[in-house]
Structures are given as structure tokens and as C-alpha cells.
Symmetry: C2
Subunit: 414 residues, 2 copies
């Protein structure tokens, strides 16, 4: 009897605090169902993001434009920012576009202590007709919501946020250079703002979007990078959060990255497990092109979405284009686990064709060498080459859709 | 030749940006040494924290004191806060005690995006003579520095920060209730403040300390909790950062915790691997007392510091007191891996004596049941008991040192 009471009362207390309905049966009777995550508490009565409520306060002090050649990634920002507050009692408040400004937060705010923060990275492009275009923003919104849910931050209507981002981007149109390769980097960010030190789901949050004009990643053409395989530190693991775009996944990556740079490599390559599976490079997904050992067929390979890999939008775009355009040319496109040993063997046997990272910043980043266990693996580029054929084609194909030269449903006109 | 040039030039660029001296040999020749972390860049010329430079700006608007019974953990704060800024060019700036106030930060600040944040939890106690005492602050400083280094935030002289915290605590003396069980919870926090979106070591940081008066965790005596074993989510991994007190380790824990509460359990218990090793409970370390299957000897067991376990100060204190006071009574005190299966077996065979969590907030938190694979494991408490003997003794022993009744080197008089 004590046992029943204990659990009923705890469940009840929890139901009250989490805004759930009471459980139908005492929790201990449901124990067989415990190894899954229950549906999130219903929040249907809370307000969703409503673009029609947008309030715009324009700056009275517009910034001078920087020369396109002086743009540095994520260092200079536009005149305004988009802000939307959330409360667990009422939901999403009216969206506001306000002059770019500091956030004023209590030092006890949970974002400073427990990393209640997730973000997206996306870009707005100006096409030849002067339209502003986003690239697959629905994919960003989908991932943003998944990231938020994993750390108990609120979800929202992705289309509504795209509509607001489009308005915000148009307002900042003058900051987007028209030259090919230039764009406006957009950083939607969601932080917990509850100002108490107890560890629990934040009762309030702030979604904001800031924008930074950026130049081409390779202003003078591709420049292949060299990687150091990292096995002393692990980025992500099964049951962890490595597939979500959480702040928590980034700070711990900086020391291994700095170590790799200290030994002369531009990025580190994250391995996993005793098998030394190849997972990601720095903060990008990773692709290799090789000839199959048995069949000789050309294969484009990337690690599968098993929970340890960031669900990259560029990764998805590369796979999709490869299936559309490389498979008819006889390529096999595969998402599967593969090891450093496999890459080493392929390189030794002359079967490694090329390797590249993929991400929003660079689209693709060709790889020359990988340092692993004291060896330097050559990834297939000749000394005078800075990119393989597949990486170069992918950049061309993806940019054509981003800038609207190849009109496609991936491109969203603001 | 190309290869030499590539690496030399990359190493050189890196050496410049990271403030290192040039490497003696091209990096590729050093590749055999790659699987270790090189010594951090020398920062001997940068200023360390200097308590003699402390500037105090007192509030003109002191807060009313809350009744001791109304104190809620981490919700109300004292009149002031301690702040120390750091720049990678000059080091630590003059410490300041200022009125408790909001932080004003650019929305691009790296703490909001990449979780450059770590913290400590410690308490100040008022003894019978009216002295203010800290408990093992050197352990907190040691861990704080380790956490900071893991995410490329600056280190500092721990004794200097203890001296400043002591001054700050004495200034806030009126907020510390004199009754046993009450204390002033101190939250030293270090955040990266660089305001650019590139992922790299922050060039500036802010260390701050805030303080919240807190009441006893068990105002009416112990209250045993029940746990749900979590195997669908994994808190930490070898090679990860689970042994550091990073914000990054906390937000991802909240959903599994909410899930456990939704099923009627107060906390979740983190398991690891196919073997289902028992690691930690919620945000506490975990101890079990059982009789050895072969020898019948009483054993106090906790998971070892293998990189997946937070290096708890209370954990260390429990182990130390157990070795001093339980071993002479015939106990064996062991840090080793142990599994849920082992606990289940011990419970079934009547060998499980008791189990408890350990942490700064509660000191110890007795455990009644663990739900695992549809079973409810009884951890040894009788229905009318809220704590086992060891947990009760540990609380008494540790509190005696915290409040100075048992004068000991662990207690630091401010």
C-alpha cells in the first residue's frame, strides 16, 4: 500500500508540474512501457508563432555596408534582429523585428548554466532578378524543432517562422551582395530564459534570428584541407545528442580541433568506437568516393543517420543530387558505416577517388590527406588538384539551385 | 614537396592564431605523436586573477530578507555578484563586486550558440560562533579549472578565486540563515563572451559568482526517492565530457528526467552500455551498500572515475569518510563498475543493504526503489524507513564538518 501511494502521489505531483493529465494507472504498473519517451505534454492551448502579429521597429541608425571583400563569417551583422518570446503559460508571443541589440539577461538564466540552447545555420541568396531566396528552409525548421524538443525547449510552426525569416531577410536586402558566392548567413537561435538554478524544463524561452553577410568560402577557388583523425575524444554516441544542433555539441569540439591545427591540420576527423568508424569532419558531414573492392563499381559513401551524425541539409542535398545524377552514370550511392581501415586499404589499392566535407558554410570542402595512426592517407587528389570531380560538381549543382539558375522546389523565394 | 609546404604553412598559420611557438619539425613528421593532447599554449604573460585589485560597488537598494522557510533553491539571490572578465590579449581583469544585475550580451555571443559555459556548485555555512565557512572549495576550483580547459576557456589561480569568494560571501553574510541545514548556495560560472559565430576558442570570457540562500533539502527529515533506470538515452561516454561540470551535460538530461517523473519516479538512473553499468542518478553520484555474494563482507560501492562520472566533491567526501570510519568496522569501500543485474541479484538474495545519491544540494539522497526492465527493485529500506544507516551517518558526518562542529581541514573559514 505504501508503494502504491508513493508512486501515485509522485505521479500526481509530476502531472501537475508538467501540465499533463493524470496517469490512468499507477506508474509501477506501467513499468513495462518505461523504455520509450512518452508523447510530449499537449500544448494545443498555447499560442503558436503568428506572423500576422509581427511588429517592426526600424533602426534609426543604419550601419554602413562593408566592402564585399572584407566580409568575415559571422563577425558583422545587419541592422535588425527577429525576436519571439515564449512562456509556458501562454505560448509564443507576438514576433518583433527590432534594431540589432544586446540581450539583457539575469545571471541565473538557465542558458548560461545548463546549455538550454539550439540553433540553425541557413543562408539567403540574391538571384539574377534581385529576388531573395532561401535554400530548403523547411529542412532547417524540421531539425530546429527536433533539437528544441530534445532539450525541453518549445516547438513551433516551421512555416510561420519561415514566413517571418523571409520578411526579416527582405528588410535586410541591402546587406546581401549580388555577386555569386555571396549570401546572408542566417542564425536562428533558441535559448531557455528561466532565471532559476533548478535543473528542469525552462518555463520561458527566446527565439531570435540574427544575420551576417558572408563572402564565398573559397574566394580564389577550392583549397583542399588535410585532416587529423581524432580517437582520444569522442563527439557523439548512440543514445546521445550528436544528431541535434545543440550548443552542447560544439564547445567540446574546440580543443580537439585546436590540437589538430597545432599539428598542422585544418580540421579534425571524428572517429567512433574500437572499429574506428568515420563519422564527421570538424563541424561538417563527410563523404568518400571509392571503387568497390569486389565489383569495381564507383561508390559515394557517407555515414548513416544513426543518432551520432548531424542531419545535415547539405548532406541530404548531396545524397539527393547524387542519386539523381550519379546513379544513372553507374555510381552506387550508399549511407553506411565505414572504417578508417577501409579508407586506408582503398587508398593503398588506388581505389580511393576523393573525399570531401559538406556543410552550409562551404557547401563542399575537398580533403587532401587524413593523418591516422602515424600514416598520412592520400585521399585521391593529385598535388596540383584542389578538388575532386564529384565535389566540384556538387558545389556547382547546389549553387545553381541556391541562386535560382536551376529553378527547383528546394529554393524558397522570399 | 607540395606536401611539406602545405603542412608547414598550415602549422605556421595555426601557431600564429593560437599564440604558440612554431613547431620544430613539419607536422606530418610528428604524426606518430598525434594521439595525445599537446600542452596548452603558454599564457604566463597574461594576468592571473588578483584579489588585491578587487573593487566593490555596494548596492544602494538592499533586498529584504526572505523568511527562512520560504527559501527555494536557486530562485532568490543576494544583493551583489562577483565578476571577473578575461581577454586573451591581457588575461584576467580586476575583480569587481557589483550590485546583482543583468548581463548585457551581444546576441552573437558564443555562450548562446556553442555552450561555452561551465560552473560549480558550493555552499557557505554559518557556524555557531558566527563564522562563515566554505566546504572543500579547493576541490571546486580544481574541477572548475578542468572543466574550463576542456572547452578552451581560461584557467586561473584557484586560491585567488577562493579568497574573492570568501570576501563576497562575508559581504552577503546577512543572507545566510544561522539554523542548521541552511546555507548560502554559491554558483561560480564561466562563460565565453566572444561575439562572433566562428567556432573556435573564445577570445574573451566572463567569470561570475552569484549566491542564493537555501534551506535544508529535507526540511522534515529524509524522504527516500524512487528511480527509473534510463537505457534509451545515454548521459556520458568514454572520450566525452561527462566528467566535467559543463552546461552541455545538463540540458540533454532534462527530457529523460521529465519522462521518469511522468511515470511516477522522482529521478532517473543513468545506465551505460549493453552491460547496463550503473553510473549516476539524475544529477548526483550514486552509492550502493551490499553484502558480498562470496564473502558476506559489507561493501560500499560507487562507479569509478573513468571519464563518464562527474567527479563529485560530496562523492569524494563520502568515500573518504567511509574509508576512515567504515573500513575499521569491517566494511570494504570500492570504486568499481557494477551492473543493474548485480543490484537486482543482491536485492533478490537479501544482500542489498541500501542505496543513495550524493551531491552538494542534498548531501545524500536515500533511494527506495529502482524501476528496471519492468521490475521494481527494493533497495533495502523498510516501508517505514526513509533512509538507511550509512546515508544517515554520512549526512551527519559531513554536516558536522561543513558547520565546523567537527573542526577539519575540509572546512575553510572565510
Amino acid at each position: 500500500m505504501m508503494r502504491h501511494q508513493l508512486f501515485r502521489s509522485a505521479a500526481h505531483a509530476s502531472a501537475l508540474s508538467a501540465g499533463r493529465t493524470g496517469l490512468a494507472a499507477p506508474a509501477w504498473q506501467q513499468a513495462v512501457r518505461q523504455y520509450s519517451i512518452a508523447p510530449a505534454a499537449s500544448e494545443t492551448k498555447l499560442a503558436d508563432i503568428d506572423p500576422s502579429q509581427l511588429v517592426i521597429e526600424r533602426t534609426t541608425n543604419p550601419k554602413p555596408l562593408k566592402a564585399a571583400k572584407d566580409l568575415i563569417f559571422g563577425r558583422n551583422f545587419t541592422d535588425h534582429m527577429l525576436m519571439i518570446e515564449w512562456q509556458n503559460t501562454t505560448g509564443w508571443q507576438a514576433p518583433r523585428i527590432v534594431p540589432y541589440q544586446n540581450l539583457s539577461l539575469d545571471p541565473a538564466t538557465c542558458v548560461f548554466h545548463y546549455a538550454f540552447e539550439c540553433f540553425e545555420g541557413m543562408k539567403a541568396y540574391k538571384d539574377k532578378a534581385g529576388n531573395i531566396r532561401l535554400f530548403r528552409p523547411d529542412k532547417n525548421m524540421e531539425r530546429f524543432n527536433k533539437s528544441a524538443a530534445r532539450i525541453a525547449l518549445p516547438n513551433f510552426n516551421g512555416s510561420a517562422l519561415i514566413e517571418l525569416i523571409a520578411k526579416f531577410t527582405k528588410l535586410e536586402s541591402r546587406f546581401i551582395p549580388e555577386e555569386r558566392g555571396y549570401s546572408l548567413y542566417l542564425r536562428p537561435t533558441l535559448i531557455g530564459t528561466q532565471k532559476t538554478l533548478g535543473v528542469g524544463p525552462p518555463g520561458s524561452a527566446l527565439l531570435f534570428v540574427i544575420a551576417s553577410p558572408v563572402g564565398p568560402y573559397y574566394p580564389t577557388g577550392f583549397k583542399a584541407v588535410s585532416l587529423e583523425a581524432t580517437d582520444y575524444a569522442v563527439r557523439a554516441w548512440p543514445g546521445g545528442v550528436g544528431d541535434k544542433k545543440l550548443g552542447a555539441n560544439y564547445a567540446p569540439c574546440v580543443v580537439p580541433q585546436r590540437e589538430a591545427m597545432g599539428r598542422g591540420f585544418q580540421q579534425n576527423l571524428w572517429l567512433f568506437g574500437e572499429q574506428e568508424y568515420v563519422t564527421e569532419v570538424g563541424t561538417m558531414n563527410f563523404f568518400v568516393a571509392l571503387r568497390n573492392k569486389e565489383t569495381g563499381q564507383k561508390e559515394l559513401i557517407t555515414a548513416p543517420l544513426d543518432g551520432t551524425i548531424l542531419e545535415g541539409v547539405t548532406r541530404d542535398s548531396v545524397l539527393s543530387l547524387a542519386r539523381e545524377r550519379l546513379v544513372p552514370q553507374g555510381w552506387n550511392v550508399v549511407e553506411r558505416k565505414y572504417t578508417m581501415k577501409e579508407l586506408d586499404e582503398a587508398a593503398n589499392e588506388g581505389r580511393l577517388i576523393e573525399a570531401f566535407g559538406s556543410g552550409t558554410a562551404a557547401i563542399v570542402s575537398p580533403v587532401r590527406h587524413i593523418s591516422w595512426k602515424g600514416k598520412l592517407i592520400n585521399c585521391g587528389l593529385k598535388d596540383h588538384e584542389e578538388s575532386g570531380e564529384i565535389a566540384a560538381k556538387m558545389k556547382e549543382w547546389i549553387e545553381a539551385r541556391q541562386y535560382g539558375d536551376d529553378e527547383h522546389e528546394w529554393s524558397y523565394i522570399c
